[in-house]
């Protein structure tokens, strides 16, 4: 339990230029909105990295920003307990019948996104939810895929992606020295 000692892995070339990944993602989102005919979508970020990214997207689209802290909806409460720092979720708009862009920095197991969708439905019934992520790691444990994603990566066991921010946003690979 507790934080494992970890080290930053030598940078992956594409991760190093995180701003380029963000621009590429914004382009994909514009395209998604056009092709799927999403009328005035609302942006919701998942705490914390997803909120940083969602802020950039909300500014780009000129829409209000909502944020979710999924601590109360996690599926590992029995195993890991309550997260020590929980920040309030805030959706400053009514999501009923609206198109939502759900934003997380990294999509890995898919469990965070599942928890976030469960939480969203406690606020109302959106018309649709599109999943936006900066980077997808090929370690899915649930049938969840991104609708817009700037980069897909394969990582070794014990490696994780971390987004530092909010300004500048920087993705890097983290390696746990003695993972279990």
């Amino acid at each position: 339990m507790g934080a494992m000692p970890h080290q930053k892995h030598p940078q992956h070339p594409q991760l190093a230029d995180t701003p380029a990944l963000v621009s590429s993602l914004l382009g994909q989102i514009d395209q998604l909105i056009t092709t799927q005919k999403l009328d005035q979508p609302l942006v919701v970020g998942i705490h914390t990295g997803g909120v940083w990214l969602a802020k950039v997207i909300a500014e780009h689209l000129n829409t209000p920003l909502g944020q979710l802290d999924i601590a109360f909806y996690r599926d590992d409460f029995s195993k890991s307990g309550l997260h020590p720092q929980v920040s309030p979720s805030s959706l400053p708009f009514n999501i009923n019948d609206r198109h939502l862009l759900l934003v997380d920095d990294v999509l890995m197991s898919g469990r965070t996104v599942r928890a976030a969708m469960n939480e969203l439905f406690d606020f109302g019934r959106p018309a649709s939810i599109k999943l936006i992520t900066l980077c997808s790691v090929n370690q899915r444990e649930l049938p969840i895929q991104a609708d817009a994603c700037a980069l897909t990566l394969d990582l070794d066991v014990g490696q994780y992606l971390q987004l530092d921010g909010p300004d500048p946003l920087q993705l890097s690979i983290i390696e746990h020295a003695n993972h279990e």
Partner: protein
């Protein structure tokens, strides 16, 4: 003090029972308030429920009547998705001759995860946590004249949400300090959170002996007691005290210690007024004050649910981690889900 802290915390410092703020450090009290802040917004959701304690069983053990406290605990547990069983002990097994210990062991054998305990004897919740069911999270919902920690902490949450901090605040606690189960916890919590000007206001007959040693000032005069304060916490006057010679009459009490609009003008203009409820209009507090813009009374009710959700989820989290650690070190087979002995 350290004994109390040890009983309430796991080996790695997580909350596992919540019996009193006494012995908990500032970081822990702030964590409780932070977590409660996050639960306040759950009340605004369309579905006012989170799945955190799904599959857990919470038993309300009320050895003493308290409709309001019992219902807010019940609502808090339900908003956490726990299964809730409310036992009115007076009408249940104990009246058929079963001992308290046997009742508790039976409830434990039913895989209860948490007991919310209300008892007229000081130290009852503490006794159960220490002696009877260390592996069931115990939340003290009021014991004797000793403690009522969730009420005290919801008052802290109210102060922090409306004043932002504790350091430079002046807080007056007015009324029957002697019989109050909340006042002691409020003093402990306020001091731990950094408040330095805590004033107790009331008649000498309702002031505990040697209370000054807790680092507070005492005032028999209401006007000077609340002069310039940021927060006025009114305590409920138990009207049965009138009969027991602590007080001459309700009218006399209201004249000397009732919170009226004129009297409240002695406090800062942006002072907030708190009361745990149920209020006795015209005895402790004037209706115009209770219903006025400075009154936090109805806010306190909502914060009470959020605060109770916070301590319940934190204590359950600590208990589960402790159970898991214990199962791993002592008996790996318990991980397979065998029933408790």
């Amino acid at each position: 003090m350290s004994n109390l802290a040890n009983l309430q915390l796991t080996d790695d410092g997580q909350l596992r029972h919540f019996l009193t703020p006494e012995g908990l450090d500032r970081l822990m009290l702030e964590r409780i308030l932070d977590t409660a802040d996050s639960f306040v917004v759950v009340g605004n959701q369309e579905v006012k429920k989170v799945p955190l304690l799904r599959g857990r069983t919470v038993v309300n053990l009320f050895f003493e009547n308290s409709t309001r406290t019992r219902s807010t605990f019940e609502l808090a547990a339900k908003r956490l998705s726990a299964d809730v069983l409310t036992l009115d002990i007076k009408t249940s097994a104990t009246s058929k001759g079963e001992s308290l210990l046997d009742t508790l062991q039976n409830l434990r054998a039913m895989h209860s995860d948490m007991f919310i305990v209300r008892h007229s004897d000081s130290g009852a919740a503490h006794f159960i946590a220490e002696q009877v069911t260390p592996d069931v999270a115990i939340i003290n919902a009021g014991d004797g004249h000793h403690a009522h920690p969730t009420q005290a902490m919801l008052d802290m949450l109210t102060i922090r949400r409306h004043k932002g901090h504790f350091e430079s605040l002046s807080v007056a606690i007015v009324g029957d300090i002697l019989h109050s189960r909340v006042a002691r916890d409020q003093i402990h919590a306020l001091k731990t959170l950094g408040c330095t000007d805590i004033r107790l206001v009331g008649p000498n007959t309702l002031m505990p002996h040697a209370i000054d040693s807790m680092g507070v000032t005492t005032h028999n005069n209401m006007d000077s007691g609340i002069a310039g304060v940021d927060v006025v916490i009114m305590l409920r006057l138990q009207t049965e005290r009138m009969a027991s010679a602590f007080l001459p009459s309700a009218g006399e009490y209201f004249r000397l210690y009732g919170l009226t609009t004129e009297r409240l003008a002695q406090a800062k203009t942006d002072a907030i007024v708190m009361h745990p409820g149920p209020i006795n209009r015209g005895i402790e507090i004037e209706s115009a004050v209770a219903d006025g813009s400075q009154s936090m009374i109805l806010h306190q009710v909502g914060y009470g649910i959020a605060l109770r959700m916070a301590v319940m989820s934190m204590a359950m989290s600590g208990q589960m981690q402790q159970r898991q650690a214990l199962a791993l070190t002592l008996n790996p087979s318990r991980l397979t889900g065998e029933p408790r002995p």
